[in-house]
């Protein structure tokens, strides 16, 4: 069983000589690393917004950035900055601040690669987020809420209405800008190796502006047209849709999207869940449209990527769907040190779901009205994302600019020494320790169930609050179902609420047990799934038939599949389906509001043991070459590693039965360990994410002798070593030949 992320190749670059242009960049993404011309790219970048810095200082400031060890910068190229009137643009002809071509030449001459982010949405704390103001004056181009009003983003210094990306005229406006920009940059000549650009971002933080509740927006004409065509694609005939929905619609054109969550029986749910899933299609089609324009103008010899404004990109974000047309994806985070677990689960998810998991924006300094980040926040959070699998970081902002503060390089080129020293040391250590070549060992995968995520999003108690926004500060630090309805919606129990609690239970229990696990969701590919020894997925009354089949195939191929608490009896369209259920037993007994290991659980489902017939909460069934393990536990509220500590022995038993031997498990459940390896080199990250000093012992079977990589001092202990970990600190320990 291979534990590592499988090798994935991006689309190969085509030779552009036939167009008479410069040769295209030859790139590929292998094993979560970007290679250009066969050489790996050290994906550490800093944001430098040229139009906000005096052009005379571009060169000197860039040298300061290079001085920290960066050989890549990122910049937006804002539509509203370059457009001076409709169809008229200034790329430095009038205002030298806007001479993006010169900025790119300076970068290229300095040997600095560039990540280009042309929008159209950029935020960047700019008034109207980079959209020209005139776009909002045309109400035809705007999205609509369920009540017919235009949704507004309440961002300072001016709130603005949100455009509909599916309006053909909006798309034409964006294309006009992109054509002008590509012309100013020289199109493919701006790409590496003839230019500095090595990747382009297709739009920014496309997430319905975090107003992601399905019944909030978009009900505009073009969105509804897209919805109808999506349904037509999905169902083929109106009769088939009517059969699923239990409706009598005469044609696609008469289908209206639901405007509120309403379901009295399982048959009502597909319509609600389809509309919620359509939100994912709406977003991905927006990005796909922008990506197509960029491909047309810059060719397909450049990686395209996208980023999400949350750490855990749950519905309506869909990484799997987006990687059909993007090369890679990332997430953005500006966390304080106390948000460790919020960031951790997002990184665990992204590092398993993106080909090249990057932090497209990671804090370096702060937005002017946000709570400040201390250098300790910066140090702890930066190492925590690297520890858990982020393979590239763009530090936003590495060069300070208007509406931002606290970056290591000021607008005039002066430096903030402590921050400057931190970044210099960070990059030096990452490279010296060989982190970029190593792999994180995670034999266990915890899967979010996308269908239940959708149900939870639709079941939000307070529209326009969505599942996405309610987990903004961390999915599991407080009950994840706090703003989710406990209604059953025609099912036999409140699946949305109970699912979120089940997810929290597994997250905290795996963490408390010191298990090394990744996170993903049920859209994960078969190939990626096969890289794990044990896969855990919460199951309730219904579950998509194809997903059930995929999970069963994983077990049949030799994996251990952990499901429960219920056996799904319906598929996603609420038709009978027993793909998994036929391998699961009928409950012998249900115990409501029970006490298990001193922890309150909502329900215990007991089954008759094979041998003794005694009641048991967990049993395993052989499936092909693997096993299906059913855990009949409907958990209560678990919000911390301490809450879940009593379940550690259960997790330990589950893991061992899947052939996973515990490795580097700390004696204190609050301490977190990540194991990285390449050949005979071993790198451990040991984190204390609490506000107290922790003394812990870490047992190991092999891998020594060990050394503190920061200080170079040896760590004594043949089969275990003891450490005192400062609050909010991460220790890097080398073993083997490291």
């Amino acid at each position: 069983m291979q534990w590592l992320h499988p090798i994935v190749l991006s689309s190969a670059a085509r030779d552009k000589d036939s167009k008479g242009a410069c040769p295209a960049m030859n790139y590929r993404i292998v094993d979560s690393r970007l290679f250009i011309e066969g050489a790996p790219v050290s994906f550490f970048s800093g944001s430098f917004q040229y139009w906000r810095i005096s052009p005379d200082l571009w060169g000197p400031v860039l040298e300061k950035v290079k001085g920290m060890g960066f050989d890549m910068v990122e910049t937006y190229m804002p539509w509203s900055v370059h457009e001076t009137a409709p169809c008229e643009f200034d790329f430095g002809e009038r205002d030298p601040h806007k001479d993006v071509g010169r900025f790119l030449r300076i970068c290229h001459d300095a040997g600095v690669k560039v990540l280009a982010r042309p929008g159209p949405h950029i935020n960047a704390e700019m008034t109207y987020f980079g959209y020209p103001e005139r776009i909002f004056a045309d109400s035809d181009l705007l999205a609509r809420c369920a009540d017919g009003t235009h949704p507004v983003l309440p961002a300072p210094p001016r709130m603005f209405p949100l455009p509909c990306y599916h309006h053909p005229r909006f798309q034409a406006e964006v294309k006009t800008y992109f054509e002008a920009l590509a012309g100013a940059l020289g199109g493919e000549r701006s790409l590496y190796p003839s230019g500095p650009i090595i990747a382009i971002q297709a739009d920014n933080e496309c997430s319905k502006f975090m107003r992601a509740n399905p019944f909030d927006w978009d009900y505009s004409d073009y969105a509804v047209r897209l919805y109808r065509s999506w349904l037509e694609n999905r169902y083929g005939t109106i009769e088939r849709l009517n059969e699923t929905y239990g409706t009598e619609a005469a044609s696609w054109q008469l289908l209206d999207p639901p405007r509120r969550m309403s379901s009295a029986r399982p048959r009502d749910l597909p319509r609600m869940l389809d509309w919620t899933e359509f939100g994912e299609h709406y977003i991905n089609e927006s990005v796909r449209t922008i990506a197509s324009m960029l491909r047309e103008l810059f060719g397909d010899g450049v990686p395209l990527f996208h980023n999400y404004p949350v750490t855990l990109p749950v519905t309506p974000l869909d990484m799997t769907g987006a990687e059909e047309f993007l090369d890679f994806q990332g997430i953005d985070a500006y966390p304080q040190k106390t948000a460790y677990h919020g960031v951790r689960c997002g990184v665990k998810y992204t590092s398993a779901m993106s080909r090249l998991p990057v932090m497209a924006e990671f804090s370096s300094g702060s937005i002017y009205y946000a709570l400040p980040l201390s250098l300790q926040d910066q140090t702890f959070t930066t190492w925590s994302i690297l520890m858990h699998g982020i393979r590239g970081v763009n530090f936003y902002m590495i060069v300070e600019r208007e509406r931002w503060y606290g970056s290591p390089v000021k607008r005039d080129g002066r430096i903030r020494q402590p921050h400057y020293d931190f970044f210099s040391r960070l990059l030096a250590n990452v490279r010296a320790w060989g982190l970029e070549e190593m792999r994180c060992e995670r034999p266990v995968m915890l899967l979010l169930n996308r269908e239940y995520d959708r149900l939870a999003n639709a079941a939000s108690l307070l529209s326009p609050i969505s599942l996405l926004i309610s987990q903004f500060t961390g999915m599991f630090d407080s009950p994840p179902d706090k703003l989710t309805s406990t209604e059953s919606f025609g099912l036999s129990e409140p699946v949305a609420s109970r699912y979120l609690r089940t997810l929290a239970f597994w997250y905290w229990s795996l963490t408390a047990a010191g298990a090394h696990f990744a996170m993903g969701d049920t859209s994960i590919s078969d190939a990626t799934l096969s890289g794990y020894a044990m896969v855990i997925v919460p199951t309730y009354e219904f579950m998509d038939a194809a997903v059930q089949a995929k999970l069963l195939a994983f077990a049949e191929a030799g994996g251990t599949l952990v499901v429960g608490p219920r056996a799904p009896s319906l598929d996603g369209r609420m038709d009978p389906c027993d793909t998994l259920a036929r391998h699961m037993r009928e409950p012998a007994k249900l115990l409501g509001d029970a006490d298990l290991f001193g922890v309150h659980v909502d329900e215990l489902v007991l089954y008759a043991d094979d041998d003794s017939g005694a009641p048991t909460m967990t049993y395993a069934t052989p499936v092909g070459a693997g096993r299906l393990v059913h855990v009949g536990l409907v958990p209560g509220e678990l919000c911390s590693v301490a809450d879940a500590a009593p379940f550690s022995p259960m997790i330990d038993t589950l893991a061992r039965s899947a052939g996973i031997e515990p490795a580097f498990v700390p004696s204190d459940e609050a301490v977190d360990v990540a194991v990285w390896r390449k050949d005979d080199r071993l790198l451990l990250f040991i984190a204390n994410p609490t506000d107290s000093t922790i003394e812990t012992t870490i047992c190991h079977a092999s891998g020594g002798p060990f050394v503190d990589l920061e200080t170079g001092e040896g760590i004594a202990g043949d089969s275990a070593f003891s450490l005192a970990l400062e609050p909010y600190s991460i220790l890097a320990v080398g073993g083997g030949a490291c």
């Binding site: 704390e125 008034t127 109207y128 103001e133 909002f136 809420c145 369920a146 009540d147 009003t149 235009h150 949704p151 507004v152 309440p154 300072p156 210094p157 001016r158 709130m159 603005f160 209405p161 019944f215 909030d216 300094g365 702060s366 002017y368 009205y369 946000a370 709570l371 400040p372 980040l373 201390s374 208007e402 509406r403 931002w404 503060y405 606290g406 607008r411 903030r416 921050h419 108690l461 307070l462 529209s463 326009p464 609050i465 407080s478 009950p479 706090k482 703003l483 309805s485 406990t486 209604e487 509220e637 919000c639």
Partner: protein, 280 residues
């Protein structure tokens, strides 16, 4: 009142961090050891409760619901100091009210006024609280607020607030006001004096440099951090303010009389007749 293209520049690093943390620290000093108020959020639809949660911890709370007009009993039985009851459509309705009249070109003050009007329209229709609050929410017009600010802040002003620690700048903020708009947000970092000693004429120097950098007339107030905390914690802040003005621990430059009067009036309003809360 807030310029569309407000300039937010040179805020510094540690200096600005301290400033943003300051309100929280002052609130802590002012409230002393008094426990924070516990808030219960009840989301309901018609006559049934969909969920009640402890707003701080997010945990679910069992409530006996007798309708939105009997929140006093919910508070009494659950022991929460504050109960907020929202019909599940309340936020969407408030957004709808605000969005219906929203002009993207309008001043942000006016835009926020739209949301406040939305809350006022939903007050006691889909939004209820215990303690019950006013019977209706007064929404001052943006014009009234603008007129009040214009009367208070002389045109073409650059205001500097510096909080010092033994005379050295510890945190600072610079605000520019002109033509009815706040157009600038900055700090002493703009003149490379982020942590400069402001004694012996250097506050005046900072003002001169700010004037030459941003134009306008600079009006400054510098206050020692210790005194600021004393003002926050004392029961009679006006006494500390007057003492500071006379002793030089509060230093002003070109400070309009109306601002001084406002400072004293605000500190009088902060008088507390009981320990920890119970202001006049």
């Amino acid at each position: 009142m807030l310029a569309k293209d407000i300039t937010v520049i040179d805020l510094g690093g540690d200096n600005w961090s301290r400033l943003l943390n300051l309100p929280r620290e002052l609130a802590r000093v002012r409230s002393g050891e008094a426990p924070s108020r516990r808030v219960l959020l009840v989301v309901f639809e018609g006559l049934r409760v969909l969920k009640a949660i402890d707003l701080l911890h997010g945990t679910e709370v069992e409530v006996e619901w007798m309708g939105s007009w009997r929140l006093d009993r919910v508070a009494k039985r659950t022991g929460y100091d504050v109960v907020v009851a929202l019909e599940n459509s309340a936020l969407a309705r408030v957004c709808g009210h605000a969005q219906r009249g929203m002009d993207f070109r309008a001043d942000m003050l006016e835009q926020w006024g739209g949301y406040l009007k939305g809350v006022a329209q939903e007050w006691r229709r889909t939004i209820f609280t215990w303690p019950p609050g006013p019977s209706r929410i007064p929404v001052p017009s943006a014009g009234m607020v603008q007129a009040a600010v214009s009367a208070l802040v002389p045109d073409n002003t650059i205001g500097l607030l510096a909080i010092t620690e033994r005379g050295r700048a510890w945190a600072s903020v610079v605000l520019g006001y002109s033509g009815g708009d706040f157009w600038l947000l900055s700090s002493l970092d703009a003149v490379d004096m982020e942590e400069a000693d402001l004694r012996e004429g250097r506050l005046e120097l900072a003002c001169d440099m700010l004037a030459s950098r941003f134009g306008g007339r600079v009006r400054a107030l510098a206050i020692e951090r210790d005194l600021l905390f004393k003002i926050a914690s004392t029961r009679v802040p006006a006494a500390e303010v007057l003492w500071g003005l006379n002793s030089g621990e509060i230093k002003t430059i070109d400070y309009p009389r109306r601002w001084k009067a406002l400072l004293v009036a605000a500190s009088l309003l902060g008088t507390r007749f009981r320990k920890n809360g119970g202001g006049c």
